[in-house]
Amino acid sequence: MKINRRQFLKGSAGSVAALGVMQQAGAMELALGNESYNYIKREPRERVFTCSPLHAHDNPVIAWVEQDPLQRNLLTGKPGRLVVELSGVTESVRSRGRVSAAEASAWLQLYDGDRLQKPLKRAGPRGSGKWQEITWQQANQEIAQAIAKSKPEAIALLHGKDTSAGAWQRLLHTLGSNSFIPLATGTNRQAAWQAAWGAADAIPDLAHSHYILNFGTNFLVSQPDYAAEAMDGRLYRRAKIATFDPRCSKTAGLSDEWLPLRPGTDGLVALAMANYLLQEGLADKAAITRSSNLTVDRLAKELKPYTLEHAAAVSGVAALDIRSIARQFAESERGCIITGSGTSGHTNGYDTERALMLLPLITGGFEVQGGTCLPRQIALGDLLPKPASPAGRNPIERPHRFPIEAGKQYPIDLLFGYNTNPAFDAPAAAAWRQTLADESRVKLFVAIDSFRNETWDLADLILPEAHWLERNEPVAGQGSLLPWIGLRQQVSPPVGEARELRTILRDIVQATNDPGAAKYWQFGDTREWLAMQLGGVPGLKKDGGWELMAKHSGVWPIYGYLHPDIRRIVDEQGEEVMPHYGKPVKLDLDPFPHWQAAKDTATAGGELTLVVHASDYYAGDASANNKVIREATLANHLHINHATAQAMGIDDGDLVRVSSRAGHLVTKAHLTQTIRPDVVAMHNASGHWRIGSVANGSAGPEHEGANDNPDEDINHNLWWADPGTHPMDLIPALFDEQGGGAACATAVTVHKAEPGDRYGNLSIDASKLLADGDMEKSAQEVRA
């Protein structure tokens, strides 16, 4: 659909324009968004369009703002511009008016008593937890000095999801470095798709699918945007959802079918399915040659060993079930696959992902309606001039092995940390802590965040960053087949001395007094930068420019209006706006993704496989201190199959010891029928000891007297007492060397707690977390 200015403006009128559609459709006369009122003053609230970075894909939202003399900012105690509500953007193809639980409650974090408001410098030895407040000038000076003393490539960034739209890259390039250390298990998945078709993601067209084949993602929980699409598919196309997962996750439990497979065996199941479909003549042979570098003959030959029986024996899913799912998938003709951390997070994750690509490939399911599609994106412009990408090598040759290799060749002179928390979230977290605490390996560690976390505890400086509702950042939309761009814009000014990332980085560069560097950082305020990146988007200007977009919808382009009954974006005729399919796909599947057993899931007799997964409602540690999310989150007791537990004499709620080769933790058993008998599971969102008083439980009812939170609700009404246990220390550092992602499973033994064991006990030998000789060797074999 072609978008013109008239439509853009019309769309921006929101509910008024939508009325026209509704009259035709005879719909619910209530608007699903775009308005909000102060109910006492009976005035409309001011709205600011922005974009939430909380989930894998950014989500356009509206922040509702009030200025009421009776309402105080909890942090400053003064009245002012306050965010009071967050809701979705009805014009957005992404949010369609909705928000997730974490987003709806994200604004509470703006006024969170645990927020950082001043730059901090450590006062005792690293990790001692003693801090002193310093000025920005002192902080910048100190960092500038470190930069001056550093080898350029020994300046590195440790990061999670990159929400900075290029600012970090610009900084590192400005300083002559290219040393990025990303933390994610999704990296195997990303690397696999990147290598196969040149984009790090694959978008399942869930809303138009007839068959959703899910391997190892709890997407109803972890990807609210995909959940919404899948539910539309289920209702309007009667899409069937089949989920392969060792535990009956929420997604599996709400799917039409749950297939409990052994962890790490998805690749084998996929290969067997592909083999079966090919042999049964259910394959679209033309599509195979059209969409990949494989020939049908070669495919048949490579697939030959992968029989259903073999797959069944290894995966634990009956051959008949695998066969019937394969058939249904092929016969539905509009099937898509969706994959996630479950497939990606093992040492064979890279190949698993590539094996799974065979399913859409041989059923002709790439780039068709309801199939698996290439991501669509609208490129952002850039700030000019742009620093060149330096050739310098990352001192950590394999960045994912950071805790092992950091400082091996030469120390990291300056490590920035942003938007990540490996000391808590990464497998082998204790090893990360050990490495980061070592001043001979990491000389200066500078963290930038709005909160302290377990990783920043080991930093030398922590710089207070503005919350995302206080920042200006362009957003290149993702996750939708209708491409879009959006923006994060400042809803209220940063509290205390917190500053926006771009400003922080600019000031650091300027403190170096290097005009060669400073020329890349010429902008007055962050909005100016916004103007440069958004202003360069072709076509936007014709529709009124980014300022208009920022004011009227927060996203561009406007494809149509939200139909309040079917809740999809429709055009003026009331017809759903459909994506364009048919982008050329050429998968590179060389070498062929043969299946190898995952190392992290291997168990000896009597051992069980522990899988650690994302928790419900949570959106990473950014929501760890969110009272509403915490209240809904159950602590991560060990999910264990009923029969398995009973055979061990373990009852529901009993205290158990979970031991891996690195040590053990003590938690409680949750007996359930929703997990394989040979697998146990915990989520990774519990057991915090930093971030804030809600996250670490120190605001709880057992801590009377320690309650000085500005939110009286937290002080007086917070009722839960179970802080959970931290499971990531149990998981040894094992990697998929092809994809560069860490594995998120390990073999454990479970037995009843021993005398003296107390809930939450954790006893880990960090040195045992790092790969021993054997594993090193096999890892090298993989690379060779």
């Binding site: 809904a632 159950l634 029928q673």
Partner: protein
């Protein structure tokens, strides 16, 4: 295992021990007053001597009641809105009827006491009748407040008010006997209430105990044959959470032991035994108030 709940919201229990105490106090007051009225209203001469004291006991008990009720409210001051503005009251709510009773009953009792003090036979009788009716109503309504909640086991039964009244009667007499015993300690021998009269009151109490047991037996039967929640309640009053208030405090301590004492000849005329039985009855009924009030929302609190 067919399934299990893994997440749910909880809401607080609404009424607690103070409300149970209020039910108990209202009951004690009503029970005492019934004894007080025996002499002046129903013409049982020998009770005339205790009437003034019994009535005053009832008044004192009942003066605590509104205080307890009012400070239990979330908005205590607003209680007076109910009294001051008739438009505030919602007449389908038993609570409003109750407010009327609770306000008028002590006034009627005070007048009655005054006329008893004045030995004004005619007016004491008239006001006695009024006050007895109000006493019964005051306690009846507390039963009704509980009875009219459709989903609440064990309250949702029309036996509730009668059960309340019987408990009131029993605990009232028991409490009065204890008070009379204390009073005797402070009085010259000739002014003391004779043990015969107290034993007589204990006999009245015995009838109440038997009737109470009869009602509880019926309730027990209903729980045994009952629908799901009733069944659950049965388990919990016998073996679970409410075993102490129900089984031990109410049934054994409050009813069975006094019953045994009061049916054994000779013992049932001895002050110490009668006093013991009276004390047990008076306190045991608090057990009933506890499980009756809190049991109501115990199950649904999980829902």
């Amino acid at each position: 295992m067919e399934g299990q709940m893994i997440a749910n919201a909880f809401h607080h229990s609404y009424w607690g021990f103070p409300i149970a105490l209020y039910f108990w106090l209202v009951g004690v007051s009503a029970g005492s007053f019934v004894i007080s009225s025996l002499g002046w209203v129903f013409g049982v001469k020998k009770y005339k001597a205790t009437a003034f004291f019994a009535s005053n006991t009832a008044i004192i008990m009942l003066l605590i009641v509104p205080v307890l009720l009012i400070i239990d409210l979330g908005k205590p001051y607003r209680f007076f809105h109910l009294l001051l503005f008739s438009s505030f009251s919602h007449w389908s709510a038993p609570m409003v009827w109750g407010s009327c009773f609770i306000m008028s009953y002590p006034i009627a009792m005070m007048c009655y006491s005054y006329f008893v003090y004045q030995k004004n036979e005619r007016w004491a009788r008239r006001l006695g009748i009024l006050a007895v009716v109000l006493a019964l109503c005051t306690h009846w309504y507390t039963g009704v407040v509980m009875q009219l909640n459709p989903s609440r086991v064990p309250n949702h039964t029309s036996v509730a008010p009668i059960l309340f009244l019987t408990g009131a009667y029993v605990s009232g007499i028991g409490f009065l006997i204890c008070c009379l015993w204390v009073r005797n300690k402070f009085l010259a021998a000739e002014k003391q209430v004779p043990i015969e009269l107290i034993a007589d009151m204990a006999r009245l109490m015995l009838y109440g105990i038997i009737f109470d047991l009869f009602l509880l037996g019926n309730e027990f039967l209903q729980m045994t044959y009952g629908v799901a929640e009733e069944h659950t309640m049965l388990y919990d009053v016998l073996l679970g959470v409410f075993r102490w208030p129900y089984l031990y405090l109410e049934i054994v301590w409050g009813l069975l032991l006094p019953l045994v004492i009061l049916v054994i000849p000779k013992i049932n005329r001895r002050m110490s035994w009668v006093l013991g039985a009276a004390f047990m009855c008076a306190t045991g009924v608090y057990g009933m108030r506890i499980w009756w009030v809190m049991g109501t929302y115990y199950y649904q609190g999980h829902y």
